[in-house]
Subunit: 194 residues, 2 copies
């Protein structure tokens, strides 16, 4: 039985709670995750989570804050021939989803967005005002907003099918095959003739 009171030494307990939260939210989504699961995975009492974050919602917001460099991402997608901009966007997307740190984050947002309004507006912002909009804006045209959401729909659909639902053979296809097949669709949405 773990004794009460402050622990000896100094550890980044707050950080461990955040890491556990990302993992649990990523696995179960917001509503289905519980403060107790997070606490247990962090090796900590549930009350401590509230002491640090105040509420489950606030914990979610803190855990899902994106440590993603969007400016760099947009730059990397724009660097290179314009006729392969779609392919590069697919490649960057797959990389984000296959890096464990960002994966559980995106997983948490997508898994929660279908039922939780806060997470839904996060995803909405990501699709409508995020890096994808920056890409379509860079190529002029008055329909940049529509183009961005169209591309966003393909991106989120790809993520759902490949990583969340795991539908075969898409889930096991190689990165290059996905880039080759999905790239042209995004290409059209981003800079092609609609």
């Amino acid at each position: 039985m773990m004794r009460t009171g402050r622990r000896a030494g100094s550890a980044d307990t707050r950080g461990e709670i955040l890491a556990a939260a990302r993992h649990v939210f990523g696995e179960h989504g917001f509503e289905n995750a519980s403060v107790r699961k997070v606490a247990s995975r962090a090796g900590v009492d549930p009350a401590l989570v509230h002491h640090y974050f105040g509420s489950k919602q606030a914990l979610f917001l803190a855990a899902m804050e994106l440590p993603i460099d969007f400016n760099g991402l947009v730059e990397q997608v724009m660097a290179g021939p314009r006729r392969e901009v779609g392919a590069r966007l697919v490649r960057q997307t797959l990389e984000l989803w296959e890096t464990p740190a960002t994966r559980s984050l995106l997983m948490g947002i997508v898994r929660s967005a279908t039922t939780d309004e806060v997470a839904a507006s996060m995803l909405r912002g990501l699709l409508a005002e995020g890096p994808i909009l920056a890409l379509t804006r860079a190529n002029g045209g008055p329909d940049a907003a529509l183009r961005a959401t169209l591309a966003g729909s393909q991106v989120v659909g790809l993520a759902m099918a490949r990583y969340v639902i795991r539908v075969e053979p898409l889930a096991s296809a190689s990165t290059e095959e996905v880039v080759r097949t999905v790239g042209p669709s995004l290409q059209r949405y981003l800079v092609g003739r609609l």
Copy 2:
């Protein structure tokens, strides 16, 4: 206070419970919906739900059983010039999502699929073995399975963006504009050069 025992007259209470279940599951998804909410919406005691269906899972399965004529749907998509098969698939999809009866059904499946494994495998089946596969199979080629899941990823992404997350301007775009913009992507996935 509603008296105990059998009600006078004869009403299709079981059917009303199913309708209420479709509505509630469509709004909240499986895990977040409760037997009590369904019962309350059907004007019925929660125990009656268990009397008819046995468990929440069984209720979900019964409520989400698709009353959709897939054969007819495939036929309608295949009827007409082959170079517009993508556009016709988009149109059929939008029609399903905009008909209230089927909408809450699909909503329930998608909203639940991100966290519940049973719903996930329903959606997986829909994307990998359902009508979309029938379409890609009809056009020969050894990669029909991959083509179907690619098209499925765009379909589910469109549904997520337009109906679940409701991202603008996609959510408010006219049917014809969506058909015009998304059609060519599906066209490529279904019968085009990958």
